[in-house]
C-alpha cells in the first residue's frame, strides 16, 4: 500500500538578514532534511519542543509556506510546486486545525458564516443547502443548533476548537494537519476533543498528522511517532516502540520528563542540561545536551537517520551501523 502523504528531504530555511544593506547573512534551518511517510487512515505524531520545526513542516505540507528544497507527495502526486489554481483543490483534501482556537476564528463572523465559508469557496454552496450542511457539521462536532448565529467570543476554548474542527471538515478533507489542537485547553476538555478527533477519524476515514509537544497526548492518539530536534528527525517508530524501547538519548530524556500523574511511578529521571539555544557545531545537533557517552564523531559528523529495525529509524552514532 502506498502512502497517502510522503515527505522527502524537506528543507525550509528562513533567511537571517542584517547589516546596513539588509543582506542575507545566513540561514535559519527550521526544517533540515526531513523525510517521512504517512499511511492512509493512520495518525503520525510529530513531536518536539518549541523551535524544533514541527509547525513549519505542517505549514509546508499545506503550502502555506514554500519549501526551500525537497518534495511533498500527496496521493501519488507531487504537490511541492503546483500552481495556485490547483492549490484550491489540494486544500479541499488537506485541512489544518490550529493551536489557538480564538485566534484562528474571525471574531466578526458568526459560527454559521465561519463553517459555511469553505462550502461557498469550494463548492459554491449557499442558502438553505449550505445552512443544512453547516448544521449537520455542527451536530457532528457536538455543537447545538442555537449556536449558529453566535460569535466565537461567546464560546469556551473547547467549543471554539469544535468550531475550528467543523470548519476543517466542511470540505470533506482526507488529511488533517492538527497543530497542537489541545494544548490551549484544560485536561477535562482536552479529553473531550481528543475523543472527538478519534471518533471523526473512524467515521470519515481521516488521516492525521498530529503535531504536539505533549508526549502523553501523542501516546494516546498516534500510531507512529517522529521526534524532531532542531529541524531534524532524531527517531521514528511505532508508538509502543518509541515508548517502550526509545533508542535516541533525546527520546529517552523526553519520555522520562513526561509528568505522569502517578507519584509512585519508578522512574530514572534524565534531566537534560541547557536548552535548544545551545550552539551546535559540525556534529550531532543534540551533542551539547546529550547525557549518553559522547563518541568522537558526535562532535564532528552529523548522524544519519538509519533503520535499526524495520520501521524504526534513529539518528544517533550510538546506534549506527558501527554500533
Amino acid at each position: 500500500m502506498s502512502a497517502l502523504l510522503e515527505v522527502d528531504n524537506l528543507k525550509k530555511y528562513f533567511p537571517v538578514r542584517g547589516g546596513v544593506l539588509n543582506r542575507r547573512l545566513s540561514d535559519f534551518r527550521a526544517v533540515d532534511d526531513v523525510s517521512f511517510a504517512l499511511q492512509h487512515g493512520k495518525t503520525l505524531g510529530l513531536v518536539g519542543e518549541s523551535g524544533s520545526g514541527k509547525t513549519t513542516i505542517g505549514k509546508c505540507i499545506l503550502r502555506l509556506l514554500e519549501p526551500t528544497a525537497g518534495s511533498i507527495t500527496y496521493a501519488g502526486a507531487d504537490i511541492t510546486h503546483i500552481k495556485a489554481r490547483d492549490l484550491r483543490r489540494l486544500r479541499s483534501e488537506i485541512q489544518m486545525i490550529y493551536q489557538a482556537p480564538a485566534a484562528s476564528l474571525n471574531g466578526r463572523m458568526t459560527v454559521g458564516q465561519i463553517i459555511g465559508e469553505p462550502l461557498w469557496i469550494h463548492e459554491r454552496l449557499k442558502g438553505n443547502a449550505a445552512r443544512d450542511r453547516v448544521l449537520e457539521l455542527m451536530h457532528v462536532v457536538g455543537l447545538k443548533e442555537e449556536h449558529y448565529y453566535r460569535y466565537p467570543h461567546e464560546f469556551s476554548g473547547g467549543q471554539q476548537q469544535r468550531i475550528g474542527i467543523a470548519r476543517a471538515l466542511a470540505v470533506q478533507p482526507r488529511l488533517l494537519v492538527l497543530d497542537e489542537p489541545t494544548s490551549a485547553l484544560d485536561v477535562s476538555v482536552q479529553a473531550q476533543i481528543l475523543n472527538l478527533l478519534q471518533d471523526l477519524q473512524d467515521r470519515f476515514d481521516l488521516t492525521y498528522l498530529f503535531i504536539s509537544h505533549d508526549l502523553g497526548v501523542v501516546r494516546y492518539m498516534c500510531d507512529e511517532v517522529a521526534l524532531l530536534y532542531l529541524g531534524k528527525i532524531v527517531e521514528v517508530a511505532a508508538t509502543d516502540v518509541i515508548f517502550e524501547q526509545p533508542k535516541h538519548p533525546y527520546t529517552q530524556a523526553l519520555i522520562s520528563a513526561i509528568p505522569e500523574p502517578d507519584p509512585d511511578m519508578q522512574r530514572d529521571e534524565i534531566i537534560l542540561t541547557g536548552d535548544l539555544t545551545l550552539a551546535t557545531g559540525q556534529g550531532c545537533p543534540f551533542a551539547p545536551r546529550c547525557h549518553a557517552q559522547l563518541l568522537d564523531q558526535c562532535e564532528t559528523l552529523p548522524p544519519p537517520l538509519l533503520a535499526i529495525e524495520p520501521r524504526h529509524q534513529v539518528a544517533c552514532h550510538l546506534h549506527g551501523e558501527s554500533a
Binding site: E49, V187, L194
Partner: protein, 341 residues
Amino acid sequence: MTDLLNIENLHLEFDTYDGLVKVLAGVDLRMRRGDVLGLVGETGCGKSMTALSVPRLIPMPPGRITAGRVQFNGEDILNKSESDMEAFRARHLGMIFQDPVTNLNPLFTIREQLVDAVLYQQAQGKKVPGRWRGFAPSARQLRQDAHERAVELMRLTGIPDGDRRIYDYPHQFSGGMRQRVLIAMALAGDPDLLIADEPTTALDVTIQAQILRLIRSLVSQLGLTVLLITHNLGVVARSCERVAVMYAGRVVEEAPVRELFRNPKHPYTRGLIAAVPQKEVTRGGLEGIPGMIPNLIDPPSGCRFHPRCQHVMSVCRQTVPAPVTVGEQHSTSCYLYEAPK
C-alpha cells in the same frame, strides 16, 4: 504549632459589567512550615485568586473580599495597612509567575533588576529598629553587598556563569533561564513562603523537568514552604507532598499526594485524573468530564459540580457539602461520603 498560612472561608467577588462574579466561595486552606502544597484546578477555578489573596495582590475594586480571613503566622493579613503589607511581602513572601518573559523588564540588565530586588527586600525586611544612622553602611557598600548576594542567588538557582551573565539583558536568556532569574528574585528576601503560580506552564518539558528539580532542591536546601499552583496533575505528582483540588471557587478535596492519586474520592478529582492520557489508556478509553466550567456570575446551587456529576443526588442541588474526613489527612466535600444519619 500554629499554621504558617491559614485561609478560612474566603469569599471573593468581582464587579463586572455582566454582573457580580463569585470567584471564591468559601476557600479553606492550611499550610504548615515546610509544606509543599499543590493547588490544582482548571482555568477559572480560583486557584490563582486564592494564592494572590495572600500577598493581597487582588485589585480592589473591582475585587471585594466579602467574608473569611487569611492568617499568616497567626497574624491577620486582611486588616493590615498598605505600608505594613509592603514590608510583610518583602519579609515573608516570594512569588514566581507563569510567564518569565513579561515579568522581567527588557530595558534593564539582570543585575539592575536583581540588585533592586535584594536592596528593596533588605530595606523592607532587615530594618534594625533604632539603629544610629552614622553607623549605617554606605549606599555604595550596600550595592556592593547586594551585587554579591545577587550573584550568589544566581548560583543557587543554577544559572551558570552568574558573575558574567548578571550584566546581560533578559532577551539574552532563554525561557528556562529567565524563570531561574525570577526564582532568584523571589528568594532575595529569604521568604518563608514561596508562591509559584504555574511556574512551568510556558516551558518545554525538558526545561520543566529542570525547573521542578530546582524547586525540589531549594525545598530541601533552604527548608522553603511552597504553594505550587498548577493545572497539571503530573507536575503535582512529581513535586508536592499534599494536594488541594479546587473547582469553581471551592476546595473540593485535599489529601497527601499518594493518597489523592491512589484513592481519589471526589467525582471531580476522579474525572480530572481519568482525563489525563496515561500509559495504560488505549484508544477510545480516555474519559473526559462532560459539560464545562460553570459561569460564576450565576453558579449552580448547592455543590457547584453537580451539573457535571454522574452521582448527583437531590441534596447536591440544594446545599453546599461540608468537608468530610475520608482518610488520614484526607478530606473531601461531597455528599457521597457523608455518614448516613
